[in-house]
Symmetry: C2
Amino acid sequence: MDLTDRARADALDAKDPLAGFRDRFVFADDDTIYLDGNSLGRLPRPVAEGIAGGVESWAARMVGGWHEWIELPAAVGDRLAVACLGARSGEVLVCDSTTVNIFKLAHAALDLRGGAIVTDAGNFPTDRYVLDGVARQRNRRLVVVGSVEEAVEVRDAALVCLSHVDYRSGSLLDLASVTRATDALVLWDLSHSVGALPIDLSAADLAVGCTYKYLNAGPGAPAFLYVRRELQADFRSPIQGWFGQRAQFAMGPRYDPVSGIERFLAGTPSVLGTLAVDAGLQLVAEAGIQRIAAKNAALTDLLIELFDALLTDLDFELGTPRESSQRGAHVSLRHPEAWRIARALIERAKVVPDHRPPDLVRFGVSALYVRFVEVWEAMRRLQELVVSGVHHDVSAEPRRVT
Amino acid sequence: MDLTDRARADALDAKDPLAGFRDRFVFADDDTIYLDGNSLGRLPRPVAEGIAGGVESWAARMVGGWHEWIELPAAVGDRLAVACLGARSGEVLVCDSTTVNIFKLAHAALDLRGGAIVTDAGNFPTDRYVLDGVARQRNRRLVVVGSVEEAVEVRDAALVCLSHVDYRSGSLLDLASVTRATDALVLWDLSHSVGALPIDLSAADLAVGCTYKYLNAGPGAPAFLYVRRELQADFRSPIQGWFGQRAQFAMGPRYDPVSGIERFLAGTPSVLGTLAVDAGLQLVAEAGIQRIAAKNAALTDLLIELFDALLTDLDFELGTPRESSQRGAHVSLRHPEAWRIARALIERAKVVPDHRPPDLVRFGVSALYVRFVEVWEAMRRLQELVVSGVHHDVSAEPRRVT
């Protein structure tokens, strides 16, 4: 181990303009180095307060709370649009899950365009599974390609669905140029970029994403969807729910969706969940997405340098682009014993990464609460653990969740 | 006003075996008589604690919390099955919204059965709107009838969707006999009966319902769905999400749903919402659904008696069955000025009912926290308000939410 690296990490922390944001999070255990905020972000105090405030408001106002709550999905969507998405007011809605939102937007897109659905074999599982179902329901071809270059080359495509940042490699696509490269509507999954990197949806048609990673809104918090304003009039949700209805409380005989983005609401939205999203995104807005992205780049740069220095002789390979402009906020290391190593790090070394099959150990940095010295310490412990062979003691049987 | 009635109401409260449950709820304002628990139930202290516990567990365990949270939708579903639904283990799932769950089960039913979709013109709006969309998506006829008798007579029906308790009149259908009266699959919406009345799904095929009314799980808490065990193998969710996938974290190339009820999960479920449902249903279980139903019958009996005594000369008509065995836990009164009267009760008399168009003032009794004397006081204030004509001062313009 190189003490120079530790000193350098300390120096980076000392001049980190976001260092103070760490105190806005709840640390139940200060020793654990948590590098899985790209799976589930830590609890920010303002989110805990937002949820508690929602509970109090329910107790005090009861059904009268809906006079304000009913605006939340679009109002929080508007704030998310400004803080993180480069979208306009009336283009973003916080609701349902990423899965359900992909389903809604994919069906709506196929109402407008003939042709195939295209996705990438490396896309996140739920995206691929949902699109497989949608393709069968609509009697369309599902084309699963191996790269973004192939995706935009498919002829007669109605819809192309891609992840902005790959959940395994962390590779970042150029959203605007990919969108321009195809005549199909492009549906972006922003789950692994929202809150970590600046996003500019001004060139984009459709997007979805989750809020429990870099927006720190909590396990199963509502997701979001984006539909470019100019497309909305022609877009209809396949799930014709009462929260998308014009004059909802007239409870009329026929479904007649509102004209704006709220037509993509389905059932009664989660009030506490939406308040959590609001509090989470406001913390991101306060820190500023440019400063967050700069720190994420510096944290992942340091991680890759340490990988080069400490791990290349130990059967590890870098599974993530070296250029910070080409990646998101996580770094994956390939190793034949990836699953055992990830478990051993959690159980023996108090470092929390995650494992993605078949051979990745994935480390997420979350600029709002991860320190440079933690990245240094995590890589040091990882080296020590693999050199010692402790991971061989871990049972090889994968658990249901990793 | 008849002071005898007040004394009788006090006597009923004095011998009420559920009286103590009122202390399990948070009363921010003791003066308000809240008779809208059939729209949004009050906050129970155990639900506030369940949510706070979930937030703590997130802070302490972070992503490791999923080792337990992942079981919640089915585990809480099992507890709901026993406490409230007369269903078996593995038949109920807590997830998504009622709207999304109707969508999922309706599509799944049409995979198995040819023929029309049937519903009742008085069914809740979201049920009718969703089914309208599903019918168009599947190129099926949607038959909207005027009564349950007509619904079961429709020939060539694939699916009949009905509400167990009508959201306007409060009429209660005989679930078993209606299910037997048709060869179609029957999808029951239990939103206005679950937690208020005993339900026996042993004869039923499919059901959905919400948890924010008599289960008091909070605004937008997750809904539930039920699929009879024998049907599950042939049922597929149209929304092929990763939480319904066998070996979810293998993240394999093809969608392959788990064999049980969890195949109806879509995206990442709301952990805090599901914990709220769990706490809410456990309070119902502790009180016992039979005792709850008996008190609801007594409360609505008293309300109807007071209507007869105080309101029949004031242009009111009873919009709910007189026989307690034929109604749920709310009573609707028809009046040409229903909207103004409902607003005036809230703004001037500290009584909270709701209004349902065109002409109903709806009063819900929630056995766990409504007292007999509150029903007496509410009807007394209602009489006084209409006699005085105060409601004529209320603006006639309907607000978006009532």
